[in-house]
Amino acid sequence: MADLVRTGEERLSRIRTEERAPREFLVFSLAGELYGVELTRIREILSPPPLTPVPRAPQDVLGVCSVRGLLVTVIDLRRRLKLEQPETTRRARILLTRMDGGEVLGLYVDEVHQVVRFPHTEIEVAANVLGGDVSEHVLGIARPGDILIILLDLASIVGT
């Protein structure tokens, strides 16, 4: 929860001071942009199973599904971050992440690319010009080569 009130700079300085080792991020795309979340927070990547929509659920909840007997609530990250929602393709995936309370959430993303390792020095403070609600949940930005990856703070996203 404390993450909610931290600014991007604070988060970044935490990254810089606490962890000298490079960190691994899973890179995926949402509405045509590249995003990354810390790999350690992701338990599993799934092809979307049949989802059962839940009436009356919040807008960004796509539905529930069962993963080997475990009931998982699937959230559309694009809706959560108030981004565009392009057509679903076969490349869509669900990232499973376990929350603090033990609940397992599924995060729906357009496509998963790869795992990228960033030394802390390559993570920049995020500019506040990102679309949707993204800027509220950003850890920082990385620019390997000429591409831009927005690193998201997962705890902040699913905590809200």
Binding site: T52, P55, A57, C65, T73, E103
Partner: protein, 703 residues
Amino acid sequence: MTDISDKAREEFFSEAQEIVENLSRNLLALDAAEQSGTSDPSLINEAFRAVHTLKGLAGLFGATKVGALSHRLEDVLDDVRLGRQQLTAEVLDVLFASVDVYGQILAGEKEGSDDPIPAVGDLMGRLEQFGVQAGPASSPADEYDLDPGMLAVLTEYEEHRLRTNIEQGLRLYRLRVQFDLATIDKALEEIKDRAKRHGEIITYLPTGETTSAETIELDLLMASNDDLATLIGALGGDNLVIDEIPRQRASLGPATAPPSATRGTEVPRPASDRALSVAVPPAVPSEQPDVSLKAVTQTVRVDIRRLDHLMNIVGELAIIRNALARLSERLRGEGQRQLSSEVHRLHRSFDRRLTDMQNGILEVRMVPLGQVFDRLARVVRQISRDADKNIRLVITGAETEIDKLIVEELSDPLMHMIRNAIDHGIEPAEQREEVGKPAAGTIALNAFQKGNHVMVEIEDDGRGIDEERLVERAQTVGLLSSDEARELSRGERIGLIFLPGMTTKSEASDLSGRGVGMDVVRTNISKLGGVIDVHSEFGIGTKMAITLPITLAIVSSLLVRVGEYTFAIPVSSVSEAIVFDGTGVRLVDGREVMTLRGASLPLCRLDRLLNIGHETTSRRQFVVVAALGSRRIGIVVDHLFGQQDIIIKPLGKSLENVRGFAGATELGDQRVGLVLDAGALIDEVLAAATPGSDVDREGAWLI
């Protein structure tokens, strides 16, 4: 806490909990025995033993608070046991209070909290007041021709050993022994050792009759079950003479009165001796007085989560079973008749075993409601004393079994309702007598099984609910307009007690609080899939009836389809399903209502209620009548798929605010279906149908 494994600690807590529960039952029995004028020493001994065992356990696990309290309680119980302390109502009060304090301590220690618990100090203070009592009027030792000189120097411990032995019907013997002064220590130990097999040496004392300078003569007082001849055979010798001390009923002179010199002085009593005094009959003293942790019964304690885990596996096996059924169908479709019927047979026998297994696991989860009733009985006793009301609690059906999880969650709501009954229901004795009721109020706590449900009723013969005042009160606090008030039916008026902020007693009491009760009670009950109905006659009494499912683990459900959705409705809340052709539907207050066997049935269109767009494809639909207690609605569905046993999994935290669903379940084929929460739907539909329904009152008007 030391580095004891979690498992051992877990074991300690559940064992301690069990002992405390036994103690509680024991005290209730003691209380009942005292009130009926009979006193049963074995009950006190059992209570003593329980506390003693707890002390031992607490020592092993470093639970110092439990240890300290047990130590003090043990002293008091010991005094009671030895007749030094009368078992008065005050003593019983303190003993009952200790049961609650144990609960608090255990809960605290379990969470690893080291915070002081104020109740412990209080209780210790109250316990302190006992134990400085005067001695008993007479001692059973008076009946024996004991040497007053010997009696006068008995330590307190020796004296109570003497008394205990006499009470246990053992014979007393005097062993007169000559010892050589040089070897007396060794020789005395030797005799004690030999005597141990036949009884207990209570004390010894020099007789003062020395025959030579090198010898000393001692009198040993011994209690034994054996007769004189046996003892002489076992212990007798040249310098040892044994006499039986005769029992005489005649009253003796003042010289044999119990010595007072030693009273009140605390004689150090080794713990092992005390263990000995309770753990085994004195006639056969054990070599190992330690408290044993070895289980006496063939019982294992199981964490309920493990059972949940097993149940989940059963659920997954059921999915495999269904796959087998489909495979058999498919084979038949492909013309492979023989293979198909083999698979079918396999499926059937798998199905039977699975059902057995499921029932087996369910059975393990079941516990008698008596567990919670015992706790309630204690509360009734306490509250009725605090409120100075004489109350008779009548319990029936304590053996009725229900899911362990339900029992745990039931305790608080029932407690609340009982408090209400005592505080608001039962009138003071004078008032009762004026209206011709017996001075003592009666509260009946009844439990019984009714089909797939367990009913728990709390009934009192108190003043009943004053509907007029309820309505007035609701208007005063702005929950009801006067127009609405006029239109309420009788049931709806009584149902006002479930509104937050209602209380008919103008001054709040310490006992039932300020009317924050019944709405919480109803919420808690409905979380368990239960429903509560109230019947009350003003002046005569109130009856609250709770209908609960037997288990939460596995639920037989009706699968239905509405549009694209497959929903499960627990069969326990379905009374029937009928074909529905859309005719005979009337609009009442803008709500659809149909008539079913002469009674009107409010309809629930799930597609509209849940806002799931769908076009009715078939002209023929069904109405599933969902009923809980006396309230019912008709849920309109497109299709019935039949019945299936399902395991309900709760929706995650991110969906906790979504109303209308009890959870989700796997339907096979990797599909998940939502389970309708019949109680919530009934609340919602009926709430909307009540006057003034435009405001969402969270289903406040029920019944």
